[in-house]
Symmetry: C2
Protein backbone atom coordinates (compact mmCIF):
# COMPACT_ATOMS: atom_id res chain seq x y z
CA UNK A 1 0.00 0.00 0.00
CA UNK A 2 0.93 3.62 -0.62
CA UNK A 3 -0.66 6.41 1.36
CA UNK A 4 -1.54 9.89 0.13
CA UNK A 5 -2.80 12.78 2.26
CA UNK A 6 -4.67 15.59 0.51
CA UNK A 7 -3.75 18.37 2.87
CA UNK A 8 -5.28 21.83 3.16
CA UNK A 9 -2.73 24.48 4.06
CA UNK A 10 -5.36 27.14 4.76
CA UNK A 11 -5.37 30.76 3.60
CA UNK A 12 -1.61 31.32 3.69
CA UNK A 13 -0.61 32.28 7.24
CA UNK A 14 1.52 29.40 8.60
CA UNK A 15 -0.08 29.94 12.01
CA UNK A 16 -3.42 28.87 10.51
CA UNK A 17 -2.09 25.40 9.74
CA UNK A 18 -3.60 22.78 12.03
CA UNK A 19 -1.47 20.69 14.37
CA UNK A 20 -2.47 17.69 12.26
CA UNK A 21 -1.30 19.35 9.06
CA UNK A 22 2.12 20.01 10.55
CA UNK A 23 2.47 16.46 11.89
CA UNK A 24 1.31 14.98 8.58
CA UNK A 25 3.82 17.04 6.59
CA UNK A 26 6.58 15.98 8.98
CA UNK A 27 5.65 12.32 8.36
CA UNK A 28 5.76 12.64 4.58
CA UNK A 29 8.29 10.85 2.39
CA UNK A 30 7.39 12.99 -0.62
CA UNK A 31 5.65 16.36 -0.91
CA UNK A 32 3.53 17.00 -4.02
CA UNK A 33 2.12 20.33 -5.22
CA UNK A 34 1.38 22.15 -8.45
CA UNK A 35 4.30 24.42 -9.15
CA UNK A 36 3.36 27.09 -11.64
CA UNK A 37 6.21 29.29 -12.78
CA UNK A 38 8.14 28.18 -9.73
CA UNK A 39 5.51 29.47 -7.31
CA UNK A 40 3.18 27.68 -4.97
CA UNK A 41 1.46 29.35 -2.02
CA UNK A 42 0.65 26.08 -0.26
CA UNK A 43 4.34 25.22 -0.32
CA UNK A 44 5.34 28.67 0.94
CA UNK A 45 2.92 28.33 3.87
CA UNK A 46 4.61 25.21 5.22
CA UNK A 47 8.13 25.69 3.93
CA UNK A 48 9.77 25.27 7.34
CA UNK A 49 8.55 21.67 7.52
CA UNK A 50 8.97 20.91 3.81
CA UNK A 51 12.60 21.98 3.57
CA UNK A 52 14.91 19.05 3.04
CA UNK A 53 12.11 16.75 1.94
CA UNK A 54 11.80 15.21 -1.51
CA UNK A 55 9.49 17.37 -3.61
CA UNK A 56 7.69 16.41 -6.82
CA UNK A 57 6.05 19.19 -8.84
CA UNK A 58 2.72 18.39 -10.44
CA UNK A 59 1.94 19.87 -13.81
CA UNK A 60 -1.50 21.46 -14.00
CA UNK A 61 -2.30 24.19 -16.52
CA UNK A 62 -3.66 27.50 -15.16
CA UNK A 63 -6.71 27.30 -17.44
CA UNK A 64 -9.01 24.37 -18.04
CA UNK A 65 -7.88 21.14 -16.41
CA UNK A 66 -9.01 17.92 -18.08
CA UNK A 67 -9.31 14.30 -16.92
CA UNK A 68 -6.10 13.65 -18.81
CA UNK A 69 -4.22 16.02 -16.48
CA UNK A 70 -5.71 14.41 -13.39
CA UNK A 71 -4.87 10.94 -14.66
CA UNK A 72 -1.30 11.88 -15.52
CA UNK A 73 -0.68 13.50 -12.14
CA UNK A 74 -2.35 10.68 -10.21
CA UNK A 75 0.02 8.28 -11.96
CA UNK A 76 2.99 10.53 -11.23
CA UNK A 77 2.12 10.56 -7.52
CA UNK A 78 1.61 6.81 -7.43
CA UNK A 79 4.79 6.01 -9.35
CA UNK A 80 6.87 8.37 -7.23
CA UNK A 81 5.93 6.61 -3.99
CA UNK A 82 7.53 3.28 -3.06
CA UNK A 83 5.50 0.63 -1.30
CA UNK A 84 4.68 1.77 2.27
CA UNK A 85 5.64 5.39 1.65
CA UNK A 86 3.59 8.46 2.52
CA UNK A 87 2.88 11.26 0.08
CA UNK A 88 1.36 14.63 0.94
CA UNK A 89 -0.43 16.65 -1.74
CA UNK A 90 -0.52 20.27 -0.58
CA UNK A 91 -3.47 22.42 -1.56
CA UNK A 92 -4.41 25.95 -0.45
CA UNK A 93 -7.50 26.41 1.70
CA UNK A 94 -9.38 23.17 2.25
CA UNK A 95 -9.20 20.24 -0.21
CA UNK A 96 -13.00 19.82 -0.44
CA UNK A 97 -13.58 23.30 -1.97
CA UNK A 98 -12.88 23.86 -5.65
CA UNK A 99 -9.50 22.14 -5.35
CA UNK A 100 -7.46 20.35 -7.95
CA UNK A 101 -6.64 17.74 -5.36
CA UNK A 102 -10.17 16.42 -4.94
CA UNK A 103 -10.50 15.59 -8.63
CA UNK A 104 -7.43 13.42 -8.63
CA UNK A 105 -8.85 10.84 -6.21
CA UNK A 106 -10.80 8.92 -8.83
CA UNK A 107 -7.62 8.23 -10.76
CA UNK A 108 -5.65 6.47 -8.04
CA UNK A 109 -5.38 2.66 -8.23
CA UNK A 110 -6.55 0.41 -5.40
CA UNK A 111 -2.99 0.36 -4.12
CA UNK A 112 -3.33 3.96 -2.90
CA UNK A 113 -5.08 4.70 0.37
CA UNK A 114 -5.90 8.36 0.83
CA UNK A 115 -7.04 10.68 3.58
CA UNK A 116 -8.07 14.31 3.68
CA UNK A 117 -6.52 16.72 6.19
CA UNK A 118 -8.83 19.72 6.55
CA UNK A 119 -7.59 23.30 6.24
CA UNK A 120 -9.14 26.66 7.09
CA UNK A 121 -11.02 27.76 3.93
CA UNK A 122 -10.09 31.20 2.60
CA UNK A 123 -13.57 32.61 3.22
CA UNK A 124 -13.46 31.54 6.88
CA UNK A 125 -10.14 33.33 7.37
CA UNK A 126 -11.42 36.39 5.49
CA UNK A 127 -14.53 36.54 7.67
CA UNK A 128 -12.40 36.25 10.79
CA UNK A 129 -9.81 38.87 9.91
CA UNK A 130 -12.38 41.38 8.62
CA UNK A 131 -14.85 40.53 11.42
CA UNK A 132 -17.76 39.79 9.09
CA UNK A 133 -20.06 37.07 10.46
CA UNK A 134 -20.93 34.36 7.92
CA UNK A 135 -24.17 33.06 9.42
CA UNK A 136 -26.56 34.10 12.16
CA UNK A 137 -29.26 31.72 13.41
CA UNK A 138 -31.86 31.06 10.70
CA UNK A 139 -29.71 32.41 7.89
CA UNK A 140 -28.27 30.52 4.94
CA UNK A 141 -24.67 30.95 3.82
CA UNK A 142 -23.66 30.41 0.21
CA UNK A 143 -20.29 29.72 -1.40
CA UNK A 144 -19.93 30.23 -5.16
CA UNK A 145 -17.08 30.47 -7.66
CA UNK A 146 -18.91 32.99 -9.87
CA UNK A 147 -21.63 35.58 -9.24
CA UNK A 148 -24.96 33.73 -9.34
CA UNK A 149 -27.98 34.88 -11.35
CA UNK A 150 -30.26 34.48 -8.38
CA UNK A 151 -29.96 33.88 -4.69
CA UNK A 152 -32.52 32.47 -2.27
CA UNK A 153 -33.98 35.08 0.03
CA UNK A 154 -32.74 33.32 3.18
CA UNK A 155 -29.10 33.71 2.19
CA UNK A 156 -27.61 36.34 4.52
CA UNK A 157 -24.02 36.16 3.36
CA UNK A 158 -22.32 34.74 0.31
CA UNK A 159 -18.65 34.13 -0.35
CA UNK A 160 -17.61 34.60 -3.96
CA UNK A 161 -14.29 32.90 -4.63
CA UNK A 162 -11.97 33.15 -7.66
CA UNK A 163 -12.58 36.91 -7.81
CA UNK A 164 -9.50 37.66 -9.92
CA UNK A 165 -11.95 37.44 -12.82
CA UNK A 166 -14.35 40.01 -11.30
CA UNK A 167 -15.77 42.67 -13.65
CA UNK A 168 -17.86 45.80 -13.17
CA UNK A 169 -20.90 43.81 -14.37
CA UNK A 170 -20.25 41.26 -11.64
CA UNK A 171 -20.12 43.89 -8.91
CA UNK A 172 -23.29 45.57 -10.22
CA UNK A 173 -24.99 42.18 -10.27
CA UNK A 174 -24.10 41.57 -6.63
CA UNK A 175 -25.76 44.90 -5.76
CA UNK A 176 -28.85 44.11 -7.86
CA UNK A 177 -29.17 40.84 -5.96
CA UNK A 178 -29.48 42.99 -2.83
CA UNK A 179 -26.01 42.51 -1.35
CA UNK A 180 -23.18 44.78 -0.22
CA UNK A 181 -19.73 43.55 -1.13
CA UNK A 182 -16.40 43.53 0.68
CA UNK A 183 -13.31 42.49 -1.27
CA UNK A 184 -10.62 40.76 0.75
CA UNK A 185 -7.20 40.14 -0.72
CA UNK A 186 -4.65 37.86 0.92
CA UNK A 187 -6.69 37.22 4.04
CA UNK A 188 -4.48 36.31 7.00
CA UNK A 189 -1.34 37.79 5.38
CA UNK A 190 0.38 40.89 6.71
CA UNK A 191 -0.38 42.58 3.39
CA UNK A 192 -4.10 41.77 3.66
CA UNK A 193 -6.26 44.35 1.90
CA UNK A 194 -9.97 44.98 2.54
CA UNK A 195 -11.79 47.12 -0.05
CA UNK A 196 -15.40 48.26 -0.47
CA UNK A 197 -15.00 50.83 -3.25
CA UNK A 198 -15.92 49.56 -6.72
CA UNK A 199 -13.12 51.25 -8.64
CA UNK A 200 -10.52 50.18 -6.13
CA UNK A 201 -11.71 46.59 -6.34
CA UNK A 202 -11.68 46.61 -10.14
CA UNK A 203 -8.10 47.92 -10.05
CA UNK A 204 -6.90 44.80 -8.22
CA UNK A 205 -5.76 41.60 -9.91
CA UNK A 206 -4.74 39.05 -7.35
CA UNK A 207 -5.57 35.38 -7.50
CA UNK A 208 -5.66 35.18 -3.69
CA UNK A 209 -8.77 37.25 -3.18
CA UNK A 210 -12.49 36.82 -2.59
CA UNK A 211 -15.66 38.75 -1.95
CA UNK A 212 -17.88 38.44 1.08
CA UNK A 213 -21.31 39.82 0.21
CA UNK A 214 -23.79 40.61 2.97
CA UNK A 215 -27.51 41.12 2.29
CA UNK A 216 -28.50 44.77 2.70
CA UNK A 217 -30.90 45.44 5.53
CA UNK B 1 -7.49 48.38 26.90
CA UNK B 2 -8.63 44.80 27.37
CA UNK B 3 -8.29 42.24 24.62
CA UNK B 4 -10.66 39.39 23.79
CA UNK B 5 -10.08 36.65 21.24
CA UNK B 6 -13.10 34.79 19.92
CA UNK B 7 -11.43 31.50 19.18
CA UNK B 8 -12.73 28.59 17.11
CA UNK B 9 -11.64 25.23 18.51
CA UNK B 10 -12.80 23.32 15.42
CA UNK B 11 -14.82 20.10 15.31
CA UNK B 12 -13.40 18.52 18.48
CA UNK B 13 -10.15 16.73 17.61
CA UNK B 14 -7.33 18.63 19.34
CA UNK B 15 -5.13 17.99 16.32
CA UNK B 16 -7.46 20.15 14.24
CA UNK B 17 -6.67 23.22 16.35
CA UNK B 18 -4.55 25.71 14.45
CA UNK B 19 -1.08 26.70 15.63
CA UNK B 20 -2.51 30.18 16.20
CA UNK B 21 -5.32 28.83 18.39
CA UNK B 22 -2.83 27.02 20.61
CA UNK B 23 -0.55 30.06 20.92
CA UNK B 24 -3.51 32.34 21.64
CA UNK B 25 -4.82 30.05 24.38
CA UNK B 26 -1.35 29.90 25.92
CA UNK B 27 -1.25 33.71 26.00
CA UNK B 28 -4.63 34.04 27.75
CA UNK B 29 -5.06 35.41 31.25
CA UNK B 30 -8.63 34.15 31.44
CA UNK B 31 -10.50 31.49 29.47
CA UNK B 32 -14.24 32.00 28.89
CA UNK B 33 -16.75 29.43 27.62
CA UNK B 34 -20.37 28.47 28.10
CA UNK B 35 -20.46 25.63 30.60
CA UNK B 36 -23.74 23.77 30.39
CA UNK B 37 -24.22 21.14 33.05
CA UNK B 38 -20.47 21.12 33.58
CA UNK B 39 -19.74 20.20 29.96
CA UNK B 40 -18.11 22.13 27.17
CA UNK B 41 -16.65 20.51 24.07
CA UNK B 42 -14.54 23.52 23.13
CA UNK B 43 -12.90 23.35 26.54
CA UNK B 44 -12.33 19.60 26.26
CA UNK B 45 -10.63 20.08 22.88
CA UNK B 46 -7.94 22.34 24.30
CA UNK B 47 -7.79 21.15 27.89
CA UNK B 48 -4.04 20.51 27.85
CA UNK B 49 -3.40 24.23 27.31
CA UNK B 50 -6.27 25.46 29.48
CA UNK B 51 -5.35 23.50 32.59
CA UNK B 52 -4.09 25.73 35.37
CA UNK B 53 -5.54 28.87 33.80
CA UNK B 54 -8.26 31.01 35.33
CA UNK B 55 -11.63 29.95 33.87
CA UNK B 56 -14.88 31.90 33.90
CA UNK B 57 -18.05 30.06 32.89
CA UNK B 58 -20.56 32.00 30.81
CA UNK B 59 -24.24 31.39 31.39
CA UNK B 60 -26.19 30.84 28.17
CA UNK B 61 -29.45 28.90 28.13
CA UNK B 62 -29.69 25.91 25.77
CA UNK B 63 -32.84 27.31 24.14
CA UNK B 64 -33.49 30.81 22.92
CA UNK B 65 -30.73 33.29 23.73
CA UNK B 66 -31.77 36.94 24.03
CA UNK B 67 -29.89 40.25 23.87
CA UNK B 68 -30.10 40.32 27.65
CA UNK B 69 -27.95 37.16 27.85
CA UNK B 70 -25.40 38.55 25.43
CA UNK B 71 -25.24 41.84 27.32
CA UNK B 72 -24.83 40.13 30.68
CA UNK B 73 -22.06 37.83 29.44
CA UNK B 74 -20.27 40.64 27.59
CA UNK B 75 -20.22 42.57 30.88
CA UNK B 76 -19.00 39.50 32.77
CA UNK B 77 -16.11 39.08 30.33
CA UNK B 78 -15.22 42.75 30.48
CA UNK B 79 -15.43 42.98 34.27
CA UNK B 80 -13.38 39.80 34.74
CA UNK B 81 -10.43 41.17 32.77
CA UNK B 82 -8.08 43.72 34.33
CA UNK B 83 -6.62 46.49 32.21
CA UNK B 84 -4.13 45.02 29.70
CA UNK B 85 -5.26 41.44 30.20
CA UNK B 86 -6.15 38.95 27.48
CA UNK B 87 -9.33 36.89 27.48
CA UNK B 88 -10.09 33.99 25.18
CA UNK B 89 -13.70 33.01 24.46
CA UNK B 90 -13.70 29.41 23.24
CA UNK B 91 -16.31 28.34 20.73
CA UNK B 92 -16.66 25.08 18.80
CA UNK B 93 -16.14 25.10 15.04
CA UNK B 94 -15.51 28.60 13.70
CA UNK B 95 -16.81 31.74 15.46
CA UNK B 96 -18.39 33.22 12.31
CA UNK B 97 -20.91 30.34 11.88
CA UNK B 98 -24.02 30.26 14.07
CA UNK B 99 -21.94 30.91 17.17
CA UNK B 100 -22.93 32.49 20.44
CA UNK B 101 -19.62 34.31 20.45
CA UNK B 102 -20.29 36.45 17.40
CA UNK B 103 -23.44 37.94 18.90
CA UNK B 104 -21.63 39.17 21.96
CA UNK B 105 -19.37 41.57 20.08
CA UNK B 106 -21.93 44.36 19.85
CA UNK B 107 -22.16 44.49 23.63
CA UNK B 108 -18.51 45.16 24.44
CA UNK B 109 -17.55 48.72 25.41
CA UNK B 110 -14.92 50.69 23.51
CA UNK B 111 -12.38 49.55 26.07
CA UNK B 112 -12.41 46.02 24.59
CA UNK B 113 -10.44 45.24 21.46
CA UNK B 114 -11.35 41.91 19.91
CA UNK B 115 -10.03 39.57 17.28
CA UNK B 116 -11.34 36.38 15.72
CA UNK B 117 -9.17 33.25 15.54
CA UNK B 118 -10.59 30.97 12.84
CA UNK B 119 -11.34 27.30 13.46
CA UNK B 120 -12.13 24.39 11.14
CA UNK B 121 -15.94 24.42 10.73
CA UNK B 122 -17.67 21.12 11.54
CA UNK B 123 -18.89 20.64 7.96
CA UNK B 124 -15.35 21.00 6.61
CA UNK B 125 -14.09 18.31 9.00
CA UNK B 126 -17.07 16.08 8.20
CA UNK B 127 -16.44 16.42 4.47
CA UNK B 128 -12.78 15.58 4.98
CA UNK B 129 -13.23 12.55 7.19
CA UNK B 130 -16.06 11.11 5.10
CA UNK B 131 -14.36 12.09 1.81
CA UNK B 132 -17.35 13.98 0.43
CA UNK B 133 -16.32 16.95 -1.74
CA UNK B 134 -18.16 20.18 -0.89
CA UNK B 135 -17.78 22.06 -4.19
CA UNK B 136 -16.61 21.24 -7.69
CA UNK B 137 -15.95 24.02 -10.22
CA UNK B 138 -19.16 25.83 -11.17
CA UNK B 139 -21.14 24.44 -8.24
CA UNK B 140 -22.65 26.35 -5.34
CA UNK B 141 -22.31 25.16 -1.74
CA UNK B 142 -24.93 26.00 0.86
CA UNK B 143 -24.81 26.00 4.66
CA UNK B 144 -28.11 26.07 6.58
CA UNK B 145 -29.22 25.48 10.16
CA UNK B 146 -32.57 23.98 9.12
CA UNK B 147 -33.81 22.16 6.02
CA UNK B 148 -34.70 24.83 3.45
CA UNK B 149 -37.99 24.90 1.50
CA UNK B 150 -36.19 25.39 -1.77
CA UNK B 151 -32.66 25.26 -3.05
CA UNK B 152 -31.17 26.87 -6.15
CA UNK B 153 -30.45 24.40 -8.92
CA UNK B 154 -26.71 25.20 -8.93
CA UNK B 155 -26.24 24.01 -5.36
CA UNK B 156 -24.33 20.72 -5.56
CA UNK B 157 -23.87 20.10 -1.85
CA UNK B 158 -25.49 21.51 1.25
CA UNK B 159 -24.45 21.20 4.87
CA UNK B 160 -27.32 21.10 7.32
CA UNK B 161 -26.14 21.92 10.83
CA UNK B 162 -27.95 21.54 14.17
CA UNK B 163 -29.34 18.18 13.07
CA UNK B 164 -30.16 16.98 16.59
CA UNK B 165 -33.61 18.36 15.81
CA UNK B 166 -33.96 16.33 12.57
CA UNK B 167 -37.30 14.60 11.93
CA UNK B 168 -38.56 12.13 9.35
CA UNK B 169 -40.27 15.03 7.56
CA UNK B 170 -36.92 16.80 7.34
CA UNK B 171 -35.20 13.81 5.76
CA UNK B 172 -38.06 13.31 3.29
CA UNK B 173 -37.86 16.98 2.39
CA UNK B 174 -34.14 16.70 1.65
CA UNK B 175 -34.95 13.85 -0.76
CA UNK B 176 -37.80 15.80 -2.39
CA UNK B 177 -35.34 18.66 -2.97
CA UNK B 178 -33.32 16.18 -5.03
CA UNK B 179 -30.52 15.44 -2.57
CA UNK B 180 -29.03 12.32 -0.98
CA UNK B 181 -28.12 12.71 2.68
CA UNK B 182 -25.22 11.50 4.78
CA UNK B 183 -25.43 11.97 8.53
CA UNK B 184 -22.11 12.53 10.28
CA UNK B 185 -21.88 12.43 14.04
CA UNK B 186 -18.81 13.61 15.95
CA UNK B 187 -16.70 14.24 12.86
CA UNK B 188 -12.98 14.00 13.64
CA UNK B 189 -13.57 12.03 16.86
CA UNK B 190 -12.55 8.39 17.24
CA UNK B 191 -16.23 7.55 17.75
CA UNK B 192 -17.25 9.30 14.51
CA UNK B 193 -20.35 7.75 12.97
CA UNK B 194 -21.43 8.05 9.32
CA UNK B 195 -25.02 6.97 8.53
CA UNK B 196 -27.12 6.94 5.38
CA UNK B 197 -30.10 4.88 6.54
CA UNK B 198 -33.15 6.94 7.51
CA UNK B 199 -34.19 4.89 10.54
CA UNK B 200 -30.66 4.76 11.87
CA UNK B 201 -30.33 8.52 11.54
CA UNK B 202 -33.66 9.16 13.27
CA UNK B 203 -32.51 6.91 16.14
CA UNK B 204 -29.58 9.22 16.92
CA UNK B 205 -29.74 12.22 19.22
CA UNK B 206 -26.41 13.94 19.40
CA UNK B 207 -25.88 17.66 19.35
CA UNK B 208 -22.53 17.23 17.59
CA UNK B 209 -23.87 16.03 14.26
CA UNK B 210 -24.70 17.36 10.82
CA UNK B 211 -25.92 16.28 7.42
CA UNK B 212 -24.07 16.66 4.16
CA UNK B 213 -26.55 16.44 1.31
CA UNK B 214 -25.35 15.90 -2.24
CA UNK B 215 -27.55 16.54 -5.28
CA UNK B 216 -28.57 13.29 -6.97
CA UNK B 217 -27.24 12.78 -10.46
Amino acid sequence: MKKVFLLGTGPGDRDLLTLKAVETIKSADIIFAPFNKGKNMALDTCKEWVEGKKFVALDFPMGKVTDEHYEKNAKLIEDSLSEGEIGVFLTIGDPTFYSTAINILDFFSDNVKYEIVSGIPSFVAAAGSSKLPLAFTGEEFLVVDRVPDQVNENVGTMAILKTFKMTEEDLDKIERLGFEYTYIQRASFEEEKVLKDKLEILGEKDYISLILARRKK
